[in-house]
């Protein structure tokens, strides 16, 4: 195998206000190599590949492509050089044929400007067979299966003379067989000199397809290993690093007593989404749910809250049946759901803060008319209690910072007197100060006797805030950690399915 590098980066750095997204990264990719990039969320993988793809400009450092030094790349420059990215989501046009999609940027045309279908099909047929992909170029994208669409995306990347292919989680939601097809295509082409940067959370598949693996953490490149010379345990260990000081240290000492009333989640199941999940949470307890994105955590929360369909599943509170049939029903039964995306499902951004705080309460209670004076003073009190920073609660929510928006979401569920709070990603996109405040509030709420289920992709957060942590993988709850068992590394091991004895 040639050892000459197709890409090298030297001291690549990029910072955003408050974050060093990438810190002086030296990296090299060999010709014909498949190199994995691994790291936790926010480790800098995406920033790194986006710099390679030309979407982001580095603050300093340089990129050496095929021996030529570039201070930065533009998207079109990067494509000219032969760097192609296949994103996680399909970016094809459903109604066009495979051939048209592959050559969309440079459609063969007749002298009159019409699309030359037959040439288009001929060229794409040749390309597909070279790549070893057997899909008819005449089929429309919407007629294809998921894996076929993925393969067309890859073929499209090759249509423009790809020399480096960046694959972002290419096997997410692919089954075993499709994965085999994909790996086959990758192997076949790396033998011809293609280099691949392979981003994946699935460590076992890295051993199957990759030559080397590079670990990122906190914007730094930690190490690059030849895959046969490194164990999964060591990779995971490097992804986590030594225990760093987290922004929050819990103040609550005593754990809830055995006798406290309990929320029991019993056998929630929907084939292919959530697999027979059961656990229970006591009053006064914060139950964290960890796992990779796509492991079924949010889906489980939506089922519990009565939004999505489930095949089986019952919810008991203090022994009584409370399974919600709809969000309205869930709210009447004292369950609140702080969704992961404030903007799209949590808040009515253009409406005033006080309306957002009172809306669940009004949806829950009966009656026809509003008492505006009482509403104003009550919501005002709630906003003050949670320290929402605004000159007036009559201002639209969109004028608030992310942290204060999150406090409004919390305020609306507390205003409706929710006893059970399901909090999905409580601190996404909010600054450290507000994070600390949110954690303190969650602690206080637990101390008051609320039942809190917290879904989080931030393993530090799970470790610092939860009493117990359940971990989901592939829709199933694979482990529940307690006390000293809870640490970032263990959470990550279970989430990625590394080194389990059972």
């Amino acid at each position: 195998m040639a050892t000459f590098n197709i890409i090298e980066t030297i001291g690549l750095s990029k910072s955003y206000p408050g974050v060093q997204a990438l810190d002086s990264v030296d990296f090299d990719l060999r010709r014909g190599e498949v190199q994995a990039l691994v790291g936790q969320n926010g480790a800098g993988k995406s920033t790194f590949v986006e710099i390679i793809a030309g979407a982001i400009r580095p603050d300093s450092g340089e990129i050496v492509f095929d021996g030529v030094v570039h201070p930065f790349l533009e998207p079109h420059r990067s494509i000219e050089l032969g760097i192609q990215t296949v994103h996680q989501e399909n970016q094809l046009v459903d109604e066009l044929t495979v051939g048209e999609n592959i050559y969309l940027f440079d459609l063969p045309h007749t002298p009159l400007g019409f699309v030359n279908q037959s040439t288009c099909f001929q060229v794409s047929e040749r390309l597909l067979s070279e790549l070893g992909i057997s899909i008819s170029p005449r089929k429309k994208i919407r007629e294809l299966t998921f894996i076929e669409q993925k393969l067309v995306s890859i073929a499209k990347a090759f249509s423009r003379q790809a020399r480096v292919l960046i694959l972002d989680e290419p096997t997410a939601s692919l089954d075993e067989q499709s994965r085999g097809i994909l790996f086959d295509v990758i192997k076949r082409n790396t033998e011809k000199g293609l280099s691949v940067i392979y981003i994946s959370h699935n460590l076992s598949e890295i051993y199957e397809i990759c030559d080397r693996v590079t670990v990122f953490r906190d914007g730094k490149k930690i190490a690059t290993h030849t895959v046969n010379e490194v164990g999964m345990g060591q990779i995971v260990h490097q992804m986590i690093g030594r225990a760093s000081d987290f922004v929050y240290k819990r103040t609550r000492e005593e754990s809830p007593t055995e006798r406290s009333p309990t929320l029991e989640v019993m056998d929630y199941h929907q084939p292919g989404v959530v697999e027979h999940v059961s656990f229970s949470v006591r009053e006064g307890e914060i139950f964290g749910i960890g796992g990779l994105v796509g492991s079924g955590r949010t889906e489980l929360a939506r089922m519990i809250f009565g939004i999505d369909q489930k095949k089986t599943g019952r919810l008991l509170y203090d022994g009584k049946e409370v399974t919600p049939r709809s969000p309205h029903d869930a709210i009447r039964k004292g369950i609140g759901f702080l969704t992961e995306d404030r903007k799209s499902t949590g808040l009515v951004m253009g409406r005033p803060i006080f309306e957002n705080i009172s809306v669940v309460h009004f949806a829950k209670s009966g009656g026809l008319f509003l008492d505006l004076t009482k509403e104003h003073s009550d919501t005002e009190k709630m906003a003050q209690a949670l320290d929402v920073k605004t000159p007036s609660t009559s201002r639209p929510v969109l004028t608030l910072s992310g942290g204060n928006q999150q406090k409004v979401v919390l305020a609306k569920w507390l205003f409706a007197e929710s006893q059970v709070l399901i909090i999905d990603e409580p601190t996404v996109g909010i600054d450290i100060g507000a994070k600390r405040e949110i954690y303190r509030m969650m602690d206080e709420l637990a101390a008051e006797g609320k039942v809190i289920i917290m879904i989080s992709s931030d393993n530090q957060e799970l470790t610092a805030v939860s009493d117990r942590v359940g971990i989901m993988r592939g829709g199933a709850l694979v482990a529940v950690l307690e006390g000293d068992e809870i640490d970032e590394e263990t959470i990550l091991r279970y989430a990625m399915g590394v080194g389990e004895e059972d």
Partner: protein, 334 residues
């Protein structure tokens, strides 16, 4: 960190000015019309203007409240026409049942029967629109555009291209005057606007309309029964269309297949010009009122200034385009 203060002050101002701009426009238009023809400002003409906009105002109230929830009903005009046809048909037919024939006892009840039928039909049309929009999950504008054509076709079939006439019956609502000066339609119009005001500002239902229009998913997760609230809004539109049809047909004295068709676009134009957002979640009863007054004044002032009255459509069309463009720019600034 205190930047939110500045941002929100800017927003608050821009919202209030939207009403001020409308009031300014209305005043300016009145001044020009008065200079050209002093008769414009006379009590008689002002009453005249309000009588002309009463029907539009009632239709626009329904359209406006529905638009707060982010839905558009473009079939309101043909609903008014169809309800009008049914109303006039019942009055004409039942009044003329020959004495001695089996249904003759119904004759004295012709009007209550027709009015009841109008409201039932209105509610029914609203429910059909609403259920279809909700079940199809398609854009309400397109669904109601389809229904608009259906309703119009039914009206044409029912009238055979002709008209049903009231023969002097049922004229009070449209032509009657309180104390010989104030047309009955005006207090009804004002009443509907006031009720809309109360609903939008002081009821839970109104609040839910704003929440749904502002963010349907968030409203659903917050426990609002989005289906029921949306359906109710469509039914309210149908009921107000029935009320509008009663007044309109009473004013005209007969029902053609297309008597009310123009209200579809005029009502939507009025609420948009009044400052409601096409995507919902914004606007008040004042927006509806000012929008309706402005549209009414444009028609009236063109007539009174003896400008070609057909210019009306050109002016209203231009105002809609300006209003929507301005709203889009200010939304993007946010």
């Amino acid at each position: 960190m205190e930047t939110p203060r500045a941002v929100s002050r800017g927003k608050k101002v821009s919202r209030i000015t939207q009403s001020y701009v409308l009031i300014g426009l209305i005043v300016a238009l009145s001044v020009v019309a008065t200079i050209v023809n002093p008769r414009f400002i006379s009590i008689n003409n002002i009453i005249n203007v309000f009588q002309q906009i009463a029907v539009l105002g009632i239709v626009a109230s329904g359209v406006g409240m529905l638009l707060v929830a982010g839905e558009i009903d473009i079939s309101v005009g043909t609903q008014v026409s169809l309800i009008g046809v049914v109303l006039a048909f019942i009055i004409q037919t039942v009044t003329h049942i020959p004495a001695g024939s089996p249904g003759a006892w119904l004759t004295p009840f012709a009007i209550p029967l027709a009015v009841l039928a109008a409201f039932v039909l209105g509610a029914l049309l609203g429910a059909i629109n609403g259920i279809t929009v909700i079940k199809s999950r398609a854009a309400s504008f397109i669904i109601t555009l389809g229904f608009s054509t259906v309703y119009s076709g039914i009206s044409l079939i029912a009238t055979g291209g002709g008209a049903y006439v009231l023969l002097g019956k049922f004229s009070t609502l449209g032509r009657g005057k309180i104390l010989n000066i104030l047309p009955v339609a005006i207090p009804i119009f004002i009443g509907v606007i006031l009720i809309s005001f109360v609903i939008l500002k002081y009821t839970k239902y109104g609040r839910f309309l704003y929440a749904i229009g502002g963010n349907r998913k968030a409203a659903f997760v917050s426990g609002i029964n989005t289906v029921r609230v949306t359906l109710t809004a469509f039914i309210v539109v149908g009921i107000l269309d029935a009320l509008a049809a009663l007044i309109l047909i009473s004013q005209i004295g007969s029902a053609l297949a297309n008597s009310g068709d123009t209200y579809s676009l005029d009502a939507l134009a009025a609420v948009i010009v009044g400052g409601m957002s096409l995507t919902g979640g914004r606007g008040t009863a004042l927006s509806i009122f000012l929008g309706v007054v402005l549209i009414g004044l444009i028609s009236n002032s063109l007539v009174i200034m003896q400008v070609n009255p057909f210019l009306r459509n050109v002016v209203i069309g231009a105002i809609i385009i300006v209003a929507v463009t301005a709203a889009q720019y200010s939304a993007e600034r946010e």
